[in-house]
């Protein structure tokens, strides 16, 4: 369990993390989402004590990370930035980490096997591909067999095979009953693995929600339907929980609360001819962009991003 209270980090006069409050609950995959520069990495660095908060607190299992007698057993962390000496072999790197906690060699061999590094374990890290480097980072995160695993942008720059491997790993870790806290700027990636979402922009908390709720809030599942007589169709479709919008004089209506199938059946029963019947599921990406559009660090042409979002 990770708890942040009014967590703040300022670098000079720039506020990277601005009074964040959130809780990462045990036994679930929590996605930490936000555009680049939203403060995700800084937040994760504060969780493990690499950066000192300018204000507020963050605790891991009820205590400051540095206050634990065996920190690697509380949280395993994969940081985005490289954290390995390129001249050291994977095995020597893991063994050095293990020594600090008295973790036996057996466990080092276990995590090497778990991450599929057996064949390169004795090679120096400088010869590693990005994907292998990521596996080494994850092996180090798993070393203390922690109940909480935190990964910063684990799929960044990986090839499809690597992405798939990470995705399966996250699912497996969660299935083991571990708490997984994973950051990304890719909503689609998160939607596949996360139950819970913490969304930040410019250091501020934008949403603490679930994938399902986020979609609903961003417009839900709308069906667009076109007919020669929209006024009559409105009457036919009207009912409790159904919301119909449309511009006067246009043939198209937008319906929330009915499925395309239900609309089609009702229209047929009423003898109304439909020209178009389309379910418009708001994509998660669009929902995410809608939420963060005011807080992305560098805007492209607004015109283009608005179209992409629509």
């Amino acid at each position: 369990m990770i708890e942040a209270t009014q967590l703040t980090k300022r670098f000079g006069d720039r506020t990277a993390v601005d009074r964040l409050d959130f809780v990462v609950k045990p036994g679930s995959v929590t996605g930490f989402l936000g555009p680049n520069g939203a403060g995700k990495s800084t937040t994760m660095r504060m969780i493990v004590g690499l950066d000192t908060p300018s204000g507020g607190t963050v605790t891991v299992n009820g205590r400051r990370y540095a206050g634990h007698t065996a920190p690697l057993q509380e949280v395993g962390v994969l940081l985005e930035a490289k954290s390995v000496h390129p001249g050291r072999s994977a095995f020597a790197h893991l063994m050095a980490q293990a020594h600090t906690h008295g973790i036996p060699r057996r466990r080092v061999e276990e995590v090497i096997e778990l991450t599929g590094l057996q064949s390169v374990a004795k090679k120096r890290a400088k010869s590693f591909s990005l994907g292998m480097g990521q596996r080494l980072g994850i092996a180090a995160a798993l070393l203390g067999d922690p109940a909480t695993i935190m990964l910063d942008e684990p799929v960044n720059g990986l090839d499809p095979e690597g992405v798939l491997w990470i995705r399966n790993l996250l699912t497996e870790l969660a299935a083991d009953g571990r708490t997984v806290f994973v950051s990304s700027h890719l909503m689609t990636e998160m939607a596949l693995v996360a139950d819970h979402l913490i969304i930040v922009g410019q250091g501020r908390l934008l949403a603490d929600t679930t994938v399902h709720d986020l979609v609903r809030r961003a417009g839900g599942d709308t069906v667009s339907v076109a007919t020669a007589d929209p006024a009559r169709l409105r009457e036919v479709l009207a009912g409790p929980g159904v919301e119909i919008t449309g511009r006067g004089g246009e043939e198209e209506l937008y319906v929330v609360g009915l499925t395309a199938r239900e609309i089609g059946l009702k229209a047929a029963a009423a003898g109304i001819a439909l020209f178009e019947l389309t379910a418009r599921t708001v994509s998660l990406e669009a929902a995410f962009m809608e939420l963060t559009k005011d807080s992305v660090e560098y805007h492209g042409t607004t015109e283009i991003s608005a179209r992409a979002a629509a």
């Binding site: 065996a70 057993q73 930035a81 490289k82 954290s83 390995v84 790197h93 020594h99 008295g102 109940a147």
Partner: protein, 282 residues
């Protein structure tokens, strides 16, 4: 203490099944730093280099002295005053660079590669890492120094045995000088470690190290001459030298005073390093 033990029980309770109990201790951090040092190729190369410098330059100096003496060629006053000790310790100047640079790499190298993040995630209390690095590397540099000087001296003194520089290991002050040289090299290693941690930059650490051990003494000649002798003898380079000088002159410290002053410099550098490590984000 009873509160500590009672709170420990519920804290461990939520985790199901049997989990091994790990714990970070000072000894384990030492063990980890020891393993880290030896698992890099650069350690082996640089230590070997330091050893070669110590032995080879000591022997070359002794051989040079012997050939000049026996051929009756002119020698500078400085060189003519040499003893078997000063000749065989000639390599110290070069070995100190190798060991000091490796010391800088031990800490600053972690910042340049990003390894420091792994290190501090493992030991988030931070300071034990610095103490462990300084202790491990200081001892290794001391050991290499001892091996080097105790190899160079017997051979070197054999070479000059029939010259005025001849002196044996049992002569007064010789053993102390040789030990002093080893200690000096160990402390140079510690200072390197501290400078690397203080500056977090390999280039910066090496520059300051070289400047303080080799360049600054030359700059003192710019001071008014009445100050020179007073300031100069407390500089790291001068104080360090007096640790292994066989005879101390009017303008050098005694070996013990030299050791104390040099220890002071090492402690100062370590304090700065500890302050930066504890206070600033990694």
């Amino acid at each position: 203490m009873s509160t500590l033990t009672t709170t420990a029980v519920p804290a461990a309770a939520p985790t199901p099944a049997v989990r091994p109990v790990y714990r970070v201790t000072g000894r384990r951090v030492l063990r980890s730093e020891w393993a880290k040092l030896w698992s890099l190729r650069s350690t082996w190369i640089t230590l070997a280099l330091a050893l070669v410098f110590l032995v080879a330059f000591g022997l070359i100096a002794a051989a040079q002295y012997e050939s000049r003496f026996s051929s009756g060629r002119h020698m500078d006053a400085d060189f003519a005053d040499s003893t078997a000790v000063s000749l065989s310790l000639f390599g110290t100047n070069f070995a100190q660079l190798a060991l000091g640079v490796l010391g800088v790499l031990v800490t600053a190298g972690e910042y340049s590669t990003g390894m420091i993040r792994s290190t501090l995630v493992g030991v988030p209390r931070r300071l034990p890492v610095l103490w462990a690095k300084a202790a491990v590397f200081g001892l290794i540099a001391f050991a290499v120094g001892l091996v080097g000087v105790f190899t160079a001296f017997p051979i070197g003194s054999g070479i000059v045995s029939s010259t005025p520089a001849a002196i044996g290991i049992s002569d007064s002050g010789v053993l102390r000088s040789l030990l002093g040289a080893g200690l000096y090299l160990g402390l140079v290693g510690v200072i390197g470690v501290a400078l690397g941690a203080l500056l977090r930059s390999v280039a910066g650490g090496i520059s300051v190290l070289v400047a303080s051990l080799m360049l600054i003494p030359g700059l003192t000649s710019l001071l008014p001459s009445s100050w020179q002798n007073h300031v100069k003898l407390y500089l790291p380079s001068e104080a360090g030298q007096s640790m292994f000088e066989l005879h101390h002159g009017a303008h050098t410290l005694t070996p013990t005073a030299g050791l104390v002053v040099f220890l002071g410099w090492a402690a100062l550098a370590l304090t700065g390093a500890a302050w930066r490590l504890a206070r600033t984000d990694a």
